[in-house]
Amino acid sequence: MAKVFEPTIKAMEFINIGKRVPKLDAWDKVQGKTMYIHDVKLPRMLHGKILWSKYPHARIVSIDTSKAEQLPGVRAVITGYNTPEIRCGFIKDNPVLKKDKVRQYRDEVAAVAADTLEIAEKAVKLIDVAYEELPAVFDPEEAMQEGAPLIHEDKGSNVLKLPWKMICGDVEEGRKQADYIVEETFRLPFVTHCCLGTSGCVAQFDAKGNLTVYSPTQIRFLAHKDFQEAMKALGLKDKTVKVIQTAIGGGFGSKLDTYPFEFITIMLAYYSGRAVKLVYTREEEFFASPGRQPVRAKISQGCTREGKLTFRDIEMILDNGAYTSWGATTPSVMMMPISSLYQVPNIRYVAKCVHTNNIYSTAMRGYGNPQATFAIESQIDTLAEKAGFDPWQFRMINRNRPGEVTPQKFEITSCGMKECLEAVKEKLQWDEKRGKSNGRGVGIASLIHVGGGARIYKSDGCGTILKLDDFGKASLLSSASDMGQGSDTILAMIVAEELGLNVEDVTVIMKDTDLEIWDAGAHASRSTFVAGNSALYAARKAKEEILEFAATMLKEPKENLYLRDRKVFSCNNPEATMDIDKLLRAAHFRTNGRQIVVSEFYDPPTVMLDREMKGNFSAAYTYGVHGVEVEVDQETGQIKILKYIIAMDVGRALNPMAVEGQLEGGGAMGLGYSLMEELHLEKGKLLNGNFLDYKILTFPDMPNIDSVIVETIDEKGPFGAKGIGEPPLVGSAPAIANAVWDAVGVRIRSLPITPEKIVAALEEKQRSNS
């Protein structure tokens, strides 16, 4: 259970902040009343279905849709040949309906809208597509070879032209300074989000040609922009777009981009003149939703006799798949742990993203960080051991400290790495359990992540509109997105705290691009920090107005007034008090009166990475340490997790129950990544697209996670908080790999750490010993 450390700054007495407040929408969710995209039903709504490519790489010779068109109940049949071209992805290399050729098994070749899903399913089967198969390539290293089949002929190469290179200091000098050097190669698999709610959307045009899209997106304003651009292609550039966000049945990065199916649904709605709903089946969700990028990482690090790291040198190859979505930008985030996890003066990092005929990749919780941290933190143990240090001690020597500026020019404000390391050491009984080599072992891994937004776009802002009604209730129109993590609740708590209201007095609205200001989306663990500050500053503006008016009403100086328990009080005069609702009515119902409505656009004080990929792109950084104790069955290779501790420096836990929810849920996803999850592709075709064969952990597989909340009260965070959505999964894999090493003396350098790999490694070890 959570242990809250003494904050370094003494907290004032909070009413809501720091309390275990249940999620605001939980009441509806437990009754099945919440509307997900699956539950949206509009009058005369049609159902859409996509025809997927049957080859990983083939020329489209012809598409015959005539039989499908003749099927009664079919209202629209579209292909790349009878629709204007719309492309998606940040370098626009993904035509939403494929023309001329397909580049992966899951390519969208045609789509149908029909009265019922049954008819739509039948209709896509009636579409005849003639293909001419092309040679394909599935291995990124092969795809880099001269003469390899080109996935995009117009690009001239399968290697993406992206600037993934970062040099800090002088790595060669760092090598010279090193007394010990380790070099290894790590491999990370293709995995996927597995949101319980599959992807989907509903599109509808009104009589004037304006578009409404219902979508469980994590980025309703960026989606709005993408859809607005698509309107141009449809000849509707003067029309408006509105994105209505439905409840999100899990996000984890999967809904951070717009995808062909959304534009296809829009076109089906446009050509049929009816609302169209398109929702993926689970099978489609597995093969058609992009996942986390597979990585091969060659890494070397060195240290001095004193145990100080002197350099870190990493080369990576990422399988980008056939098209480009956010997966191709994950190296920009990998740079963060590479440059700034521990104090390392000399760093070199080069990454290549390579097109193959595999399924493409997108953002996924952690955004590259889990891959990079697996390589770094596994090797830290090896290096420590080689240099004769206890791995925990080695980490303490090299740990990050508050106030430092890292080689990538990150300005570290608060940093609880030491406290996290100490907490995990104690809870894990590190000194007693380490180094027994008896089939049981302990392992740790540290992590860093952005905790104060991330300036990926020129604006990292988030808007808030706050309205106070005549009854002392607040409507908070936030541009943030709640995917279940509890942003709704956190924002209500912040506003309630600032305005002296109860959490129930605050209605949080985050759903409609027409109503709200702009936001960059739910990514980079930024909602608590960025949307939180936005809500906080909006509440402060409202408070100013309230107190100003109260000062005239109560005839007390404004400075003496404060809000609490739905009342305004004066510090000096116990008699001078007034109920908030009464005050608000008095402010409204008078000559020149008004309701209090304020808006705020908060953009954190950060910069974009410069040409050298350096700069303080987040306003705060989150640190954490994972610690595990494992038992390895040396006959079967099975791993039993005996203990799992996650210590996170969260700045301040605004809602400890929600923080634990992130730690426990992130830990579960991290354990799945470590032990079981892998999409198996055979020549580009997914073999295990179901929950039986793609194994996320079940109840009995999942240990209880001991969450340790470390509070460092960040100077810039709302009430001192930092973001913690992603980091809880980052440290799992290296901590387990390190514990396995401690238990049985084998080093597993690829994920997942399967029993097969452990058995094989144990045999190999036995062979080399004898």
């Binding site: 079967t636 039986l692 109840f699 009995p700 399967t754 029993p755 097969e756």
Partner: protein
Amino acid sequence: MRRFTYHEPDSLTGAIALLEENGAKAKLLAGGTDLIIEIKQEAKTPDHLVSLRSVPGLQDMEYSNRELSFGAMVTHRMIEKSELIREKFSLLSDAVDNLGSVQVRNVATIGGNLCSAAPSADTAAPVMALQATLVVKGPAGERRIPIEDFFKGPGKTALEPAEILCCISIPALPEGAASCYIKHARRKAMDLPLLGIAVIIVPDDNIVCREARIALTLAGPIPFRATKAEAFVTGKPLSRQIWEQAGEIAVSESNPRTSFRTTAEYRKKMICALIPRAAEVALQRINRAWMKG
């Protein structure tokens, strides 16, 4: 899902008649946890489903005259909850305990599990080791099929067209017998076995193995008894070393496959590792341990 006509006959004769009438276009529906998925995937495309839900007697379970007999529509959950089975046929309880989920076990039937003849069927190895006899009824009347003659290949059984498995009957184990089934899987629940191992041991005053039965699933295309390994341990001391050798012999009788789920090599290693382990657990259940040395 593709359309079909649903039939719910109230007698076995009625069900047989429907199967005869519709031939290959008809499929028998028990719990449906396999068949409905196959229809959704269009791996099977029946025009008629004949449900056994209203056929009387198929959910009966009885133990008398040292014989356990249960109807084909007995669900895994009923077996899981049966104290009698847990006491007298513990390997069968082992097999159903971790099969699918509660939701699946509540509807999936033992008859369905056997007749689907999936190479990964959890009940197959225990039922083989238990030397069950399957009572089937068809247009030509009733016949009894020994379990070892039942599985003919992945998804294939000895059932003739329009024949229905009605009852599974299992003779009681010899006095003092011990048993265990190990499902070796990646997850603790909601998983298919990578290997299933059923072991029955009849010890002779704790020193010698009087009788042994070893049945394996996923060690070959169909479940089988490792008869050479059984012969090897019979009459020998119940020691870990002997059973480790039995594991190696069983490997030589096996022919597992490699798939994305695991490799043939790993399955073979697990046959070696888990046969002695299953035997050890079985012995522990009767408060016995390996003979030393």
